[in-house]
């Protein structure tokens, strides 16, 4: 305990020194940093008074990278060295990235870990490094505004981000020297920004419509605890779809076909402007004044009514996803007390109208939808460093995508279902498939589908040193631990011998945002296909098991216990089963399995008698 405090006159140490912490919204197109000052959350501006930092980094030889507006200016003249939308590359493998690369003017190279690297004038840069350069600028801005070193930061991620994408985001922060207090889901952050003054219990829907993604989360707020009940959405749906719908309509009206790239860009720009204008006026005119071609179509009028009919099909998709998230949360429309709007595309009046109509109440729009996420993150950061006393806010989040393990036949067995509250720990027991098996490969996956190939592969590792036992006798317990950031650690242990291994899941490759949303969506639309695929795999595994055991028996005793005709009959039936097994009709496989099992009954009986005879051979009757 300090008995004396010595300080300069007029500079006496404050009794309650605030710790400096920020919230960072690391966005696809722009990023923001915010903090809590005098009890108010506010976004921080750069020296010129600008709040939004474009998420763009330009690399130059022998010079520091340019970040933000300065980099943005070189998007066209130095395209290969000017990196934008790097968030879409986070936690991805080279394969996924090259697929995206068709639309991206960057040169990718593989590195040892399989992580994609961008070739720039300043050498090879990974997406994690590019994100770190953006984060560094934001952290510096925070320190300059607040006048001191930061204790840490809360960084927001989309709710649908999987383990690989979260890990990559955390790595970027570490690389930029930021202590990560917590990775926070963007919709949760938005609810926090609105929900703090609200003392009573409420159930909140967060409707987050960005340029290219849609996120919906259902939360319950009670006595300072925010509990996420479900998340859902569609990461291939957003305001860009509005612009395309308008542009397509214009093309139909003026009979425009086979657009060139420049014309397409022109039309989309006009569409976006018209969409924004119609938030204020009832009618607007789309002009072709700078149409990049000689024969210029006539101007065209767009009324708000016509606009609405173009937007409605897109909005309807968001409302369907919203209803699904409500069902997942075990809630109905009537249970929702507040609706929070996030993302630039929620500025569209029609979106607000439709959401209001669905919930029977106007959504909250008082906080700038571009800033609300950063503001909520700042609140959470302030709590985490201990600046708040008394009734503290606590956020209880959920796992966005199910976690599972590969089992026989390329099937996924779910270990933790999506929307399970985190942190969470689960264990599952598996057994060996063959006699004398001494190692087991463990393949961890994330996603909603039944087949391995349709889920995201997170990690593979091997458990070695299992004592040789009969198939099914060794028991391997695999444990999953997901922490509050949604990051996974997996361990495996053989229960009879205690052989163990643990891995921090650090994947080096991944899949596209669209695939993640598709994985969720597809698990609904493909329920029937999956069921068929599952049955097929199960029958194939069964067929392989039977064929393997008969092959072994035939090799051992076939010559001795069967005559030539019997042997040929069994071999013929095995061949029939192999043909069926390689087909895709699970009923046919099941039928052939049955026939083969019956055909080998006699053989099995003779083997049994034979082994008894041999066990008894050479022993006196008295000794039996």
């Amino acid at each position: 305990m300090a008995l004396l405090q010595i300080a300069e006159p007029g500079q006496s140490a404050k009794p309650h020194q605030r710790k400096l912490a920020v919230g960072i919204d690391l966005g696809t197109t722009h990023s923001l940093v915010a903090t809590v000052r005098s009890g108010r959350a506010e976004t921080l501006a750069d020296s010129k008074g600008t709040h939004l930092l474009p998420s763009v980094v330009r690399y130059r030889a022998d010079e520091l990278p340019q970040v933000g507006t300065k980099a943005l200016q070189h998007l066209v003249d130095d395209a290969a060295n000017t990196i934008m939308s790097v968030k879409r590359l986070m936690g991805r493998g080279l394969q996924d990235v090259t697929r995206l690369g068709e639309q991206m003017p960057y040169i990718f190279e593989a590195c040892e870990s399989g992580m994609p690297m961008l070739r720039t004038a300043a050498g090879l840069k990974s997406p994690v490094q590019v994100s770190a350069d953006i984060l560094r600028v934001l952290a510096q801005r925070g320190e300059a505004s607040l006048g001191g070193d930061l204790v840490g930061a809360v960084i927001t991620v989309p709710a649908y981000f999987d383990d690989a994408q979260r890990q990559a985001t955390k790595d970027a922060a570490t690389l930029s020297g930021i202590q990560v207090l917590r990775l926070l889901n963007e919709p949760t952050a938005a609810a926090v920004a609105y929900g703090l003054d609200n003392e009573q219990e409420s159930t909140i829907a967060v409707f987050d419509l960005g340029g290219g993604t849609f996120d919906i989360s259902i939360l319950r707020m009670q006595k300072g605890v925010f509990e996420v009940l479900s998340t859902g959405g569609d990461s291939a749906l957003g305001g860009d779809d509005f612009d395309h719908a308008i542009a397509n309509w214009v093309c139909d009206q003026r009979n425009i076909q086979n657009l060139e790239l420049a014309q397409q860009r022109f039309l989309l720009r006009q569409a976006r402007q018209a969409k924004e204008q119609l938030s204020d006026t009832a009618v607007t005119t789309i002009t072709f004044a700078d149409w990049p071609e000689t024969s210029c179509p006539a101007d065209i009028e767009l009324t708000r009514e016509q606009l609405n009919s173009l937007l409605d099909p897109v909005i309807a998709k968001t409302l369907r996803a919203t209803k699904k998230a409500l069902r997942d949360a075990g809630m109905t429309i009537d249970d929702i007390n507040q609706v929070v709007m996030v993302g630039g595309s929620t500025r569209v009046i029609r979106v607000q109208e439709k959401v209001a109509a669905l919930f029977g109440r106007p959504p909250l729009t008082s906080i700038d939808p571009d800033r609300v996420v950063a503001l909520g993150a700042a609140r959470q950061a302030d709590v985490l460093v201990g600046n708040q006393t008394g009734d503290e806010m606590l956020l209880l989040d959920v796992l966005p995508l199910s976690l599972g393990l590969e089992t026989m036949g390329g099937l996924v067995e779910k270990v933790i279902d999506r929307n399970t509250p985190i942190p969470v720990a689960r264990a599952q027991e598996f057994t060996t498939y063959q006699d004398g098996q001494v190692a087991m490969a463990i393949h961890v996956l994330q996603g909603e589908r039944d087949l391995v190939q349709d889920c995201r592969s997170l990690a593979r590792f091997e458990l070695r040193g299992i004592p040789p036992m009969a198939a099914g006798a060794a028991k391997v317990r695999v444990t999953f631990q997901v922490d509050a950031d949604g990051l996974l650690e997996v361990g495996a242990r053989e229960l009879t011998s205690g052989v163990a291994t643990t891995v921090q899941v650090k994947p080096s490759y991944g899949l596209s945002e669209n695939e993640i949303a598709d994985m969720i969506k597809a698990s609904w639309s493909n329920v029937d296909a999956d069921r068929g695929a599952r049955s097929l795999r199960e029958q194939q595994v069964e067929a392989d098991r039977l064929l393997a055991s008969i092959t072994i028996a035939m090799e051992a005793d076939g010559e001795r216990l069967l005559n030539e005709n019997e042997r040929q009959a069994i071999i013929k039936q095995m061949e029939t089963l192999i043909v069926a097994r390689n087909g895709d009709d699970h009923h046919a496989i099941a039928k052939q399995i049955d026939i083969l099992a019956k055909a080998t009954d006699t053989f099995a009986g003779r083997r049994m008698d034979d082994s008894i005879k041999r066990a008894l051979a050479g022993k006196a009757v008295d000794n039996i």
């Binding site: 204790v151 840490g152 207090l181 917590r182 009670q222 006595k223 300072g224 605890v225 369907r320 209803k323 699904k324 069902r327 709590v383 985490l384 460093v385 201990g386 503290e392 606590l394 956020l395 209880l396 399970t420 509250p421 985190i422 942190p423 969470v424 720990a425 631990q481 922490d483 509050a484 609904w524 329920v527």
Partner: protein
């Protein structure tokens, strides 16, 4: 908190099937307030790890005690029983028949004239059966008729599966 103890004692609730859900939610919230890793954001790694384990335990406990089916299974497991062991499959014939009828109804549902009303009707019936089974379990458990309680647990599991399928069907048909 001693994580080897049972969920009821750690959440400060009397051990039994009848449970005060509001008290359970309150207790879970208060314990998470005290033990969640966010409360140890500035602490060392060992404390963080401990907090992750405690919070995981609390989430697990809350999930089990809140669910009528999982709570029933858990109570029987505390008594050393395995109500859902794969070898444990005997069911009364009348219940199995009823299941088959409900399943047939669900399969024919998409072709019904008023799908929405039919689904609602089915969901209501399933809910009523679910409630009745909860009452049955409480009675059997409190009378220490554990084998009877075990049968009720398996019935509950059947009904919950049907409820889940009914819910999925509703999502698909009414979207």
């Amino acid at each position: 908190m001693d994580l080897t103890k049972d969920y009821f004692s750690n959440l400060g609730l009397p051990c039994g099937y009848q449970i005060d859900l509001a008290a359970l939610a309150d207790s879970h919230r208060q314990l998470q307030q005290a033990h969640h890793p966010d409360r140890f954001a500035a602490s060392g790694e060992a404390e963080q790890r401990q907090a992750v384990q405690t919070a995981s335990y609390l989430n697990q406990a809350y999930g089990v005690l809140r669910s009528p089916l999982k709570r029933a299974i858990y109570l029987l497991e505390l008594q050393g029983m395995e109500p859902l062991a794969p070898t444990n499959t005997s069911m009364p014939m009348d219940f199995l028949l009823q299941q088959m009828q409900l399943r047939e109804r669900m399969e024919e549902l998409p072709a019904a004239a008023d799908v929405e009303a039919e689904i609602e009707q089915l969901a209501d019936e399933l809910l009523a059966m679910h409630k009745q089974l909860q009452t049955d379990f409480a009675a059997a458990y409190e009378a220490s008729q554990l084998p009877a309680a075990e049968v009720v647990v398996r019935k509950l599991q059947f009904i919950e599966k049907l409820q889940q399928e009914c819910n999925d069907l509703e999502g698909r048909l009414l979207d």
